[in-house]
Symmetry: C2
Subunit: 220 residues, 2 copies
């Protein structure tokens, strides 16, 4: 199909398609003339994945590129899974102060307590320490006390997530398996935060009383 039909089929505008081509996020079509190329079903599927990572997964273009490089590269499944896991957290430029050192020690302690097999380079370590250090710098160190509860909840979910991604991707070939791993890992983070927003709204309504003008679906 031509680029116009690819755009209609995928719901992605032609300028965006050209941008993804330039950035290497979408493989080139088969050249059929000086200014024409032919695209196939693989391109439609890839565009849907690209938009899922950016729009629904909330990844930056840079993070999506790294994840797609793992999909396309000839790397083992666990490496692709790791790239998808890492893409979900952004690690800000670090400040080296007392709060940062203390926060790092707290995260190291948590990892040891739970017996997690986590490399020194795992971006979750730095990202978690950054949150704890920021809590301390802003004068709210007590918010960091929830870290053990958070970790227990994530540990339970992560085991099932990884199992589900691995078992769900059986039998479709390597590329399909890696796509599934990336999709489940990245979008699962968005799903979790979406449910957290609803659960928090419910907890706020119960604890604070809600705006009486709001309309609730349940508990009316």
């Amino acid at each position: 199909m031509r680029v116009g039909e690819l755009s209609r089929r995928s719901g992605v505008s032609v300028p965006s398609i050209k941008y993804y081509l330039r950035e290497g996020m979408l493989p080139a079509g088969e050249r059929t003339g000086p200014n024409q190329a032919d695209y196939g079903e693989d391109h439609v599927r890839r565009l849907r994945l690209v938009r899922a990572l950016l729009d629904v997964g909330g990844l930056s273009v840079a993070a999506a590129k790294e994840v797609l490089a793992a999909v396309d590269g000839d790397v083992p499944l666990y490496e692709a899974l790791g790239a998808a896991q890492d893409a979900v957290v952004t690690v800000p430029g670090g400040v080296s102060d007392e709060a940062a050192a203390e926060a790092r020690a707290k995260v190291d302690g948590l990892v040891a307590r739970r017996g997690w097999r986590v490399t020194e380079a795992n971006p979750g370590r730095r990202a978690a320490a950054d949150v704890l250090a920021t809590y301390a710098r802003l004068g709210w160190p007590q918010f960091g006390e929830a870290i053990d509860d958070y970790a227990a909840a994530m540990e339970q979910l992560a085991a099932r997530e990884v199992e589900s991604v691995l078992s769900g991707t059986d039998g479709g070939g390597r590329e399909r398996a890696v796509e599934g791993a990336v999709t489940g890992t990245v979008l699962g983070g968005s799903l979790l935060l979406a449910l957290r927003v609803m659960a928090q709204a419910d907890a706020s309504a119960r604890l604070l009383g809600a705006d009486p003008s709001d309309k609730f679906t349940t508990d009316s």
Copy 2:
């Protein structure tokens, strides 16, 4: 203090400070001359909060502006808390297809099953439905089956989060309370995803075997 000292004290560059002033995210200083203004400790604290929301919380400038408007506005605490909760999820432009309608029904069913008091307008509803619809469109509907596990975990954490934010913000006046609510709510999401990355890496290592060149802190 002058803008140069404000920059040194807060670790934020002068061009960034000027940008936040233009965007209304930082209140103007007291004018002391045609091209000079005087800033105080409130400005240092506000800059730290702005950078925490953007860098550590991962909010967009637009989302951070909405949260800060709630901090500055004379709104009740539960509204500021709601603004912070909402800022954490981004709701992409919706597609109306069969997958979207089915996904929306699944989220409505979940909310009813759990008895959550959640308004129709809560962005978590739309964001959760978008993930489920995207799973279906990409051919991985089975990943949506984890939604009840996710919801149960988030419900348990959210109740404690909201309680901790409310009890931790007692006695500091309205502005300090709202700042605390915003900080705990936004940064808590980042902490959760950071811990999820580590928990997933641990689960992957256990299920798939890890790269033998990796160095683990525990379980060596």
